[in-house]
């Protein structure tokens, strides 16, 4: 009896144990994966790993743009129990009195929207207040917000971002791929109180790459301040300043006026303040372009600084049109080529240009980087305009020699003047110094003119800031030697289709002369009257900016210390360097709509070659002389008839000052 009971009891226990074991096996083996998945779903939360957008620094490591985490308040308008109460509550908690929140909520609710951002960038105190509200129709989202701690400094260089922190202008747009980070994902195992116990990365976060610019914030500040003051003082419409290192191409400052604050960008996309006048707005440069004309003359002709140029009585007649000097003084007469630049003689420039010839001038204009993009990483850069040679008219050579019938940008002028400053190399301007820790690649410089040509031009340009020059005394620096060229170009009025009496006043200069550390180009648009000439409007800005830049760079003075010379306005009427515009009968260069100046081939690193001797074999004397004149070559004819012999032979490179002897016979 007892044994039977024991057996029964034992059997019951065994069954019970077996049931337990079966259930355990079912849970641990059969349904393990499914249950583990359910457990993970309950226990794990997915957290986004923020990847802040890369910061932008100036060359000295000062932050110009940074991203900070921020929080935004959002609501579901469809779930709002009472729009008025909700609006009142939110306005009170988020300090948004008078913001029209009720109207926005009402409109969103009527449109059936389920999501509305109430306020972005709330403070931590406001976030706490919102979290303390016992409502379920309000939510707080984490995001990132871009800050520009220097305000409007370098606004056109930096650009800006939209609400999604995607670059929409400037460096922010050009380098958006590098600056934009990639958020990651993290899985966190939590306890019942939702506290994290362990975590593992599902996707690694990749923060944005920081960018270091070549901009120096101190020089940028000085350039912007002086530019704004000059535009206000001269009642100009806009302006730009570029400060560049001629040897490395580093853009130390790039200012454009009017400007804006990227922290509060203009609402409208086409606002004038967003236009970058330094890179995106081409203009006819005027007399400052004579530097290119004379450089080409030194390279391709036997003209020298002391070569006399007949400027006549202040006028020249070309193809039925009479062109006068800017100043009706009775002309400069016969002056040296150096004085042509010093006084900015239009007649002299035209005569020099005619010696250079169309082909050579076109080639050198292209070699100096005009009508091509400089390669700066700034969206919206203009390449300017230069008509292709077949489209040149009879007066194009004269116009372009004076800096009309061609449109350039301020940065292109800086690039061109840097060629003179650094000894003849075209150095591409650059804005990015480093990407992360890696130095940004630099383009190889290309030789444009011979070193002696560059040195000669520097001395010719020095005369511009000396007594008698169009840039004296405003452009003369205290304690430093300087060189430059003024420019005053009439502005074409598209409404009246003629040139108005407004000027683009510019000054392109370098300092110090023996080994220029900086090139500064200043342009003021729509100046008026005598005070609006390049020497009176733009040169003072060059003076202040260059002086400050040299001090910041700690460049030793190369002129003896003397009593501080205040750059006072000259009591005499300033020398006019106004270029004569409107020589051609066709449409203005700025009205050209087609991309006529598409670069056929980039100017690559060709070794410098002088002019080559053409083949005059079988040509009459008249044809030989005409062809030589068109190329700027000097021919010594001998005999009569047709050309039989010549020295140097055809195709050889002509040395500087060398003349071609041609023997004619019947």
């Amino acid at each position: 009896m007892v044994e039977r009971r024991l057996i029964v009891l034992g059997a019951a226990l065994a069954l019970w144990s077996a049931a337990i074991v079966v259930k355990l096996a079912s849970l641990q083996l059969v349904h393990h994966l499914e249950l583990a998945r359910k457990a993970r779903a309950r226990q794990e939360i997915v957290r986004s790993l923020p990847a802040p957008r890369g910061s932008i620094y100036d060359r000295n490591g000062q932050p110009l743009a940074m991203s900070l985490p921020t929080q935004s308040v959002t609501v579901n308008p469809a779930k709002l129990p009472d729009l008025g109460v909700a609006a009142e509550l939110l306005e009170q908690v988020l300090h948004m009195r008078g913001s029209g929140l009720y109207d926005k909520l009402k409109q969103a609710n009527e449109n059936g929207r389920g999501y509305l951002v109430v306020k972005r960038g709330i403070t931590p105190q406001e976030a706490e207040s919102v979290r303390a509200l016992p409502v379920d129709w309000i939510d707080i989202e984490s995001a990132s917000q871009r800050h520009y701690p220097k305000g409007a400094l370098a606004a056109h260089v930096l650009g800006g971002v939209d609400y999604a922190e995607k670059g929409n202008a400037g460096i922010e747009k050009a380098l958006d791929d590098a600056l934009h980070g990639q958020p990651g994902k993290e899985l966190i195992l939590t306890d019942v109180m939702r506290r994290g116990i362990a975590s593992r990365q599902a996707n690694e976060a990749r923060p944005g790459t920081p960018v270091t610019l070549t901009i120096d914030e101190r020089m940028q500040f000085v350039a912007e301040r002086q530019l704004a003051a000059a535009v206000e003082d001269k009642h100009a419409a806009s302006g730009s300043v570029v400060v560049m290192n001629p040897s490395t191409g580093d853009v130390l400052a790039l200012a454009s006026y009017p400007t804006f604050d990227p922290n509060t960008p203009p609402e409208t996309a086409g606002d004038a303040s967003r236009e970058n006048h330094a890179t995106g707005v081409p203009f006819e440069p005027g007399s400052v372009f004579k530097v290119i004309t004379l450089s080409a003359a030194l390279e391709t002709t036997n003209l020298r600084p002391e070569t006399p140029i007949d400027c006549g009585r202040g006028s020249i007649t070309l193809f039925g049109r009479t062109i006068h000097e800017a100043e009706a003084r009775g002309g400069y007469g016969v002056i040296s080529m150096a004085q042509v630049l010093q006084h900015s003689s239009n007649v002299g420039a035209i005569r020099v240009g005619m010696r250079v010839g169309q082909q050579n001038l076109y080639d050198y204009v292209r070699r100096f980087g005009f009508a091509q993009l400089t390669g700066l990483p700034l969206p919206g850069e203009s390449r300017g305009k230069l008509r292709k040679l077949p489209r040149w008219t009879a007066t194009s050579l004269a116009s372009i020699s004076m800096g009309q019938e061609i449109s350039v940008t301020t940065i292109q002028l800086a690039q061109a003047v840097s060629v003179i400053a650094n000894g003849g190399l075209l150095v591409k301007p650059r804005l990015v110094l480093k990407l992360g820790n890696q130095p940004a690649p630099q383009a190889t410089p290309v030789r444009v003119v011979k070193p002696e040509t560059a040195f000669t031009m520097r001395h010719l340009m020095e005369a511009v800031v000396m007594p008698g020059g169009t840039g004296y005394p405003e452009a003369r620096l205290a304690g430093y030697s300087a060189a430059g060229k003024t420019g005053t170009a009439l502005i074409f009025d598209f409404t009246t289709n003629r040139y108005a009496h407004n000027y683009n006043a510019s000054f392109a200069g370098m300092a110090p002369l023996p080994n220029p550390s900086i090139v500064v180009v200043v342009t003021l648009n729509e100046t008026h009257g005598n005070g609006g000439y390049g020497g009176r409007a733009a040169a003072p800005v060059f003076n202040k900016v260059a002086t400050e830049a040299l001090r910041i760079l700690e460049v030793p003075r190369d002129l003896p210390d003397g009593p501080a010379k205040t750059v006072a306005a000259s009591q005499e009427e300033p020398s006019s360097d106004l270029a004569i515009a409107g020589l051609g009968a066709g449409p203005n260069i700025l009205q050209d709509t087609d991309d006529d100046d598409q670069p056929a081939a980039p100017v690559t690193g060709v070794a410098f070659l002088g002019p080559t001797v053409p083949d005059f074999q079988g040509m009459t004397m008249r044809d030989v002389l005409a062809q030589a004149a068109a190329r700027g070559l000097t021919v010594l004819p001998d005999g009569s008839g047709v050309a039989k012999l010549q020295y140097p032979p055809p195709g050889s490179v002509l040395r500087q000052g060398e003349r071609i002897r041609v023997r004619f016979a019947r």
Binding site: P149, G196, R551
Partner: protein
């Protein structure tokens, strides 16, 4: 209730057979038997047993068995601890780690906020206004003497405006 049995007993005691039996019953009664319950056939016996003179014989194997049991139990506890403690420590470390990570994130964000504030305070526009308020002007080129050479952080004296 006890009165009736006493009466019956008296009545039976008068009978001759009853007079002979009580002496014999009394002599055979177990000395350990407790007084019987009335009208019950259940008898209780109570006997005092003095085991004080009993001495347990020492078991030579008990000691080793005891130690073995202690050892096994300790081992089991150690194994259990070895299995459970790392998990618990891991969980506690996990709490600590997550809180440290949250603290790191907070400090990084705070650092960035401070960097931004520093940059705003060092804005050239602000410094210029402060200098202007202090009647400080930028020195002219002939008033600048570079004491430490061409170094980025070389000090430059500011000139007070007279």
């Amino acid at each position: 209730m006890a009165t009736l049995p006493a009466i019956f007993t008296w009545m039976g005691a008068t009978r001759p057979e009853a007079q002979a039996k009580p002496a014999q019953s009394r002599a055979e009664r177990d000395p350990y038997r407790l007084r019987a319950l009335p009208q019950e056939n259940v008898f209780f016996f109570c006997k005092k047993i003095d085991n004080g003179r009993l001495v347990r014989e020492p078991d030579p194997q008990a000691k080793s068995a005891c130690w073995s049991a202690i050892g096994v139990a300790s081992l089991a506890v150690a194994i259990l601890a070895g299995v459970l403690v790392p998990g618990a420590a891991s969980t506690i470390s996990g709490y600590r780690l997550e809180s440290l990570r949250a603290e790191e994130r907070r400090l990084l964000d705070e650092g960035r906020t401070l960097d931004l504030q520093e940059a705003e305070l060092l804005s050239p526009d602000r410094l210029d206004r402060l200098a202007h308020n202090q009647n400080l002007v930028t020195p002219k080129s002939d008033q600048v003497f570079h004491l430490e050479g061409n170094q980025p952080d070389a000090a430059v004296a500011m000139v007070k405006k007279q």
